[in-house]
């Protein structure tokens, strides 16, 4: 715990050692080894994979949540409807904007904050504790806090601050819904990025930094040639995990804008939720779910290759 490193070295050493022996594992030994794994594996398959198979089944049917008996096989017509649905395209685009916007801005801010925190100064641990707090507040609470206490057009703090500078009051969540959601998301996710980058900074080999300073490399040169390449793996990991978590954002959108005005700030999770639980259209919602999963698989297989390179998990 004390020396933060990524476990690639020990990981590959351990797996290399076991690789040699694994060929001689007998059948009985194989099952003895599999034993501890199976409950978790079977549980995960049942709870996560079976519902997805059902999603595919529903996506080929026309079905209303309120009248489950009205089940009708319709082939691919739900998918054809999606292809014609401009709202689906818009919410898909919103998903991309919200996810990438949040992850990239949070990462830049996180790097800045991590660099600032990686210097000794008075009260450093207090400052760090304050900075990670936004990430710890319940997302439902942060949504309410932003929508009501900060961005409310009449008594929100943002407009009061603008008023101090003589600027017009803005109805944030209806005029700039996506920006409002991004502000709340970036605020919540910056500490996450900061923590990962800070861990990276503190894992820097000190002797290399000293050598650089002895060689007369300035702060900027050291940062660009030594720190940044070292941080790359941490930044990649942060962006990747950030995307996995942020793409599923629902709480902020549900509570801050309800996807509105219209569907201006709805992302795919919110739109599918609307179709299923407010429109009761199971077939459509399921078909959208399938499309989202296919898109996720395409993006994720690239992302997973990255994660596995980062962890260097080998057989």
């Amino acid at each position: 715990m004390s020396t933060p490193t990524i476990d690639r070295l020990e990981g590959s050493r351990r797996t290399a050692r076991t690789e040699a022996s694994s060929r001689q594992i007998s059948r009985a030994e194989g099952w003895r080894r599999r034993g501890p794994l199976l409950p978790a594996l079977i549980f995960t398959i049942i709870v996560t994979q079976l519902p997805f198979l059902l999603t595919i089944w529903y996506s080929l049917h026309s079905r209303n949540l309120l009248r489950p008996e009205s089940d009708l096989f319709v082939g691919f017509s739900n998918y054809l409807d999606i292809a014609r649905d401009s709202t689906f395209r818009q919410t898909a685009w919103n998903s991309v904007v919200i996810t990438l916007g949040c992850v990239l801005v949070a990462m830049v801010l996180g790097i800045v904050l991590a660099l600032l925190l990686d210097r000794p100064f008075f009260g450093r641990s207090v400052a760090r504790t304050m900075l990670i707090t936004p990430f710890l507040v319940m997302p439902v609470a942060t949504s309410v806090l932003w929508a009501v206490a900060l961005l409310n057009p009449t008594y929100g703090l943002f407009n009061w601050t603008l008023g101090l500078f003589g600027l017009e009051a803005v109805d944030w969540t209806s005029t700039y819904p996506v920006v409002s959601i991004l502000m709340a998301l970036v605020w919540q996710w910056t500490p996450f990025m900061m923590l990962l980058v800070l861990a990276g900074l503190q894992a820097q080999p000190k002797d290399v930094l000293e050598a650089a300073s002895v060689d007369g490399a300035g702060t900027w040169l050291t940062f660009r040639l030594i720190t940044l390449p070292h941080l790359r793996r941490y930044i990649e990991l942060g962006v990747l995990l950030g995307i996995i978590y942020v793409v599923n954002t629902f709480d902020q959108i549900y509570l801050m804008t309800a996807g509105g005005p219209g569907t201006a700030s709805a992302n795919l999770p919110f739109y599918i939720y609307q179709r299923a639980f407010l429109g009761f259209d199971v077939g459509q919602a399921a078909a959208m779910g399938v499309v989202v999963v296919i898109a996720t698989i395409i993006v994720a297989s690239a992302a997973l290759r990255l994660i596995f390179r980062s962890f260097e998990v080998k057989e």
Partner: protein, 283 residues
Amino acid sequence: MSVATPVVTPRATNRRFSSGFLTTVTWLLAIGFFFPVAWMAMTAFKQENQAASDPPTWFFTPTLDQFRAVIEGGSMVYVGNSVIATGVSTVLVLLLGVPAAYALSIRPVKKVSDVLFFFISTKMLPVVAVIVPIYVVAGQLKVLDNIWTLVVLYTAMNLPIAVWMMRSFFIEVPGEVLEAASIDGAGLMRTMRSVLLPMVAPGIAATALICVIFAWNEFFFALNLTASQAATVPILIVSTMTSEGLFLARLCAAALLASLPVILAGWIAQKQLVRGLSMGAIK
């Protein structure tokens, strides 16, 4: 003699100045990021007319009225449900996840990376893609608005994180220790109980912390699968917001109380937090 008087070069003064400047910037940013939370906490101690005032009220006599209203307003049912959903799912995650991580590290099965790949890929599956069948099946099994439905789903939600994280702790256990234990004649169970588990105990605690945070804060399943019987704390906040009109101070009191357990846990366990959030990749 020249050594005795330290020479203050312009560069040194410059550095001291810039260091002070950076410290000031850091503190301003820290206060800026923390401010919304502080404002939420402040508002929770106000009367309603002070909470939604224009201009904002900065100085006031703090009151506990809002906390009293939240606690006496039947919030204990929600807290009880959240405690069950969070606590039981975390225990189940550990019971399933620790042995699985063991089977992926110390005495590994074949195809370790395929299994790890499978676990992490379930985290990438958007929840929204499976909510419809889960809702329909739960309805047919008559387990809608049932806290045990959430327990099962939260277990599945956190299990992949726990497997990855615990594996990263098992990998750190030196092989020599386990060899020594087996030479000393300790059987599998005994090695587990008296050698392995004590060594990864901090890892189990860190894993539990992450599972508690995610389960306690979960909103999407709770919103769609519960109504009055099994509603959890996030639902309480939303219902405070919508059903009773806008009571900002009471809303902030509820939000503060709801967030407090995780905030305190995160403050105490900052180091474990990084490792958990990176699923064990960063130590």
